[in-house]
């Protein structure tokens, strides 16, 4: 590397560049070769297609929600319909999009390669996981077309068990099954990371993306079953009249919330940790520098996972829990926020003394850092007991979680997709268009959700189909923002699809990145490595990379 180029994109000469003759995509042909594949990379692609579908479905619901909220009157849809809209928006976005987003696509694709393995430990279970996911998705769609479900994504009892006659059981079954897809993904990752690392790939040589997914996997394996049992009990209560949560039979409806949030708080970290992993990779690559405080970032992932199990009650502060235990949970909530701060600062300092370029993934990473900081800090507002009283169940929460989930995880996901797109398909996405869409979604995002913080403090409750007229102005801003945001999210699908055929050929390592995945051909072979690598260097070792590229041109195949 001479280091004089202003960009590190290192495309092969386009006149002579060729795609590798044999890769995981063209290795076998036909639909069946995809539907029965055991290849983690193909399963990742299957997942990518499915969750993109669900994202847009959820996005359309979001669009309808925002359209309805354009005016204070309940004029676009009936209130039942509105309730179904946000319930399905939440259910689809969380269980069918965000939870599997990074792990099941990028994680599936990359983790084995990053640690030098030929596949995940259990390829068949990996495939099974996708089928379970699809079954769950189809059931949710069934619930949708046969009349919808209007519980909200939180399924609060006794509302969900006794007072609604929509398809609660179908939707709950769908989530239950999709939950097992998530469990199996996590299980597969943990076993793979423990058992399949290449010789020399010690724990502290693993890329931080692997660490982050490892931490998220622990949460998936230990948290999801508790969601499963609480949904089973809801379903049994509806169908057979069991009385575990029913206050008229002596049950405690709060018990349901305890069980639900025991999963769903850790779930928010399932949703953010893999995204944080993406950010580590991207920041390091485009500043050409080892991540500042590698161990601190690695351990903070594990700390988030561990502490994540101790704070769920902060979703129930005003729900009638004991005030003493609210104190304990509030304190623990403050503790769990610290590791996230550690990560943010470590990323910022990775930039110091780097040699920074600003490709699209880097823009998304910057968006992540800014938006996640805002989203995370507003989480601290909510974790402070007295403050939460005023803010809870208002648009402040809606803004908080969209900042962390959309501004955080979705940005990270898009950044990751762009970053590894050349590896996945061997072709580059169009750079300037993608920069445009990154900027568009950043602006649109803030326009959509910043006004919601204000709305929330003003007191506008969430899940409201109609609202007092004085809130209109801010709602109009928000809806306008959502339109911009929608465009920002629609663009990537179009140009990424285009690039599959017409993008510039990427070559093995267009970013000059250090990960093992960049040392093999793009798209990779079905077996990833022709020979298992022996790892002698740490993660993000740019000197090793420079020496390596000096000596030979890397080709595999």
């Amino acid at each position: 590397m001479s280091g004089t180029t202003s960009t590190i994109v290192n495309l092969p000469d386009q006149r002579t560049a060729t795609m590798p003759k044999r890769d995981y995509l063209n290795n076998e042909h036909g639909l069946l070769s995809w539907l029965f594949t055991g290849d983690h990379k193909r399963i990742a692609i299957l997942y990518l297609i499915s969750i993109t579908f669900f994202f847009f479905l959820g996005g359309i619901f979001a669009g309808l929600i925002r359209l309805e909220l354009l005016t204070p009157q309940p004029d676009l849809v009936a209130s039942d319909t509105y309730n179904k809209l946000f319930s399905l928006h939440g259910i689809i976005m969380i269980f069918l999009f965000l939870v599997p987003s990074v792990p099941a696509t990028l994680g599936n694709f990359l983790i084995p390669i990053m640690i030098g393995a030929k596949d995940l430990a259990f390829p068949k279970i990996n495939l099974l996981s996708w089928y379970l996911f699809m079954t769950g998705g189809v059931l949710t769609l069934t619930a949708l077309v046969t009349g919808g479900v209007d519980t909200g994504w939180t399924f609060t009892t006794p509302l969900s068990t006794h007072y609604l006659n929509t398809n609660v059981v179908t939707a709950a079954t769908g989530i239950f099954i999709a939950g097992f897809a998530s469990i199996f993904t996590g299980l597969n990752f943990i076993v793979t990371i423990h058992r399949m690392r290449a010789p020399g790939m010690t724990w502290f040589r693993m890329p931080l993306f692997v660490w982050a997914n490892y931490a998220a996997s622990i949460l998936m394996v230990l948290g999801t079953p508790v969601l499963a049992i609480s949904l089973v009990l809801v379903a049994l209560e509806r169908t057979l009249g069991l009385g575990v949560f029913d206050p008229t039979k002596g049950g405690d409806p709060l018990l349901f919330q305890h069980l639900f949030w025991f999963y769903s708080h850790p779930a928010v970290y399932i949703m953010i940790l893999p995204g944080m992993g993406v950010i580590s990779e991207v920041i390091s690559t485009f500043s050409r520098k080892r991540i500042f405080g590698y161990t601190a970032v690695a351990f903070s992932s594990v700390a988030i996972a561990l502490f994540g199990f101790f704070v769920w009650e902060h979703h129930m502060f005003i729900m009638g829990v004991s005030n003493y235990s609210a104190l304990v949970f509030s304190l623990l909530t403050m503790l769990v926020a610290v590791p996230s701060a550690i990560k943010i600062f470590n990323w910022a300092f990775t930039l110091q003394k780097g040699s920074i370029t600003f490709e699209t993934p880097m823009l998304y990473a910057f968006a992540f850092i800014g938006l996640f900081t805002i989203g995370g800090m507003t989480g601290v507002f909510l974790g402070a007991l007295g403050m939460d009283i005023h803010l809870t169940e208002t648009y402040f929460i809606v803004a908080h979680f969209h900042y962390v989930m959309v501004g955080g995880m979705l940005m990270a996901f898009l950044g990751g997709i762009h970053f590894w797109w050349p590896k996945m398909f061997g072709r580059m996405y169009p750079e300037s268009l993608s920069k445009l869409s990154a900027v568009t979604s950043f602006i649109g995002f803030n326009l959509t959700f910043m006004p919601q913080f204000v709305l929330g403090y003003l007191g506008m409750p969430r899940r409201y189909h109609a609202y007092p007229p004085e809130f209109q102005v801010l709602n109009v801003l928000s809806t306008a923002g959502a339109t911009v945001l929608g465009v920002g999210f629609l663009l990537p699908v179009l140009y990424l699809g285009w690039s599959l055929k017409y993008g510039a050929i990427a070559g093995n390592n267009p970013w000059q990145a250090t990960g093992l995945e960049w040392q093999i051909q793009s798209p990779p072979l079905t077996e990833n490595f022709t020979e298992i690598p022996i790892v002698t260097q740490d993660a993000y070792d740019y000197e090793w990379l420079a020496n390596k590229t000096e000596h030979e041109v890397t080709t595999v195949g």
């Binding site: 390829p123 079953p225 609480s230 089973v232 039979k249």
Partner: protein, 250 residues
């Protein structure tokens, strides 16, 4: 090819594995040791999810038992301790033969393996049969939660020839919580048994073809883990549901 990156002793499987190349060996694993350990580890992780799954139910039980102790005692006394104890023994026996089955596979005794698996299955069916008898009794007594739930037996035990202390009507209502949990817990447990028996049929069929008597024991071993876990759940369910308070008097 980049030499720094590639194992100098890198072995491609066919050549280097002179020892055994079992047909079950998957190619993405370096060695069979690795494959086997991964399998066991994966199975254990799966069992962790089961711990948490039943954990939610156990917590619900713990909570309501403390809230409605009298109702739980009275309702629990409706369960047949005899059937419960027999079932415990049956299930432990089934676990015992499962363990023997693992051993038989390890020492490659095909006949014994099949025999042990069959006994395991039979005992599993016995357990479910007894469970059915118990459920049926609850049905007849209207002790299934829901619309037809009937508390008269608890309010007025003398009329039913029981020596129990009668419960106040409000407490008697809470027996429904007990039975809700009873059915949720034993039902989930029975569901696990049914899935397990399904798998057992499949394993017996494969064992009979000799698949597990040439050193490839992982499926048997891992299924064994599952089966024993289901045992353990019952080992806790039995005292919690049947033995809360059996001594006469209080």
């Amino acid at each position: 090819m980049d030499n720094a990156l590639v194992a100098s002793h890198a072995h491609t499987h066919e050549e280097e594995h002179e020892h055994v190349a079992l047909p079950q060996h998957c190619h993405h694993f370096e060695t069979e040791q690795q494959q086997r350990e991964a399998g066991t580890f994966g199975m254990w992780l799966f069992l962790l999810t089961e711990i948490m799954f039943f954990g939610g139910l156990f917590f619900a039980y713990l909570l309501y038992r403390n809230w409605y102790h009298d109702a739980f005692v009275a309702a629990s006394n409706q369960l047949s301790i005899k059937l419960g104890a027999i079932n415990t023994a049956v299930l432990i026996g089934s676990g015992y033969f499962m363990a023997l089955g693992v051993w038989a596979a390890e020492v490659r005794k095909k006949g014994l393996l099949v025999l042990f698996l069959v006994i395991t299955t039979v005992l599993g069916f016995v357990f479910l049969g007894i469970k059915y008898v118990e459920y049926h009794e609850k049905w007849e007594k209207h002790h299934i939660p829901g619309e037809h739930f009937d508390v008269s037996e608890f309010v007025n035990p003398q009329a039913y020839g029981l020596k129990e202390t009668p419960l106040a009507p409000d407490m008697a209502q809470k027996t429904q919580v007990f039975f809700s949990l009873y059915f949720a817990m034993t039902g989930m447990h029975a569901l696990h048994m049914i899935i397990g028996i399904g798998l057992l049929f499949w394993l017996i069929w494969r064992a009979n073809r000799g698949e597990f008597s040439s050193g490839y024991v992982a499926p048997i071993e891992n299924f064994g883990l599952y089966w024993h876990f289901v045992d353990i759940v019952w080992i806790f369910l039995f005292p919690l549901l049947y033995l809360i308070n059996r001594h006469p008097g209080s």
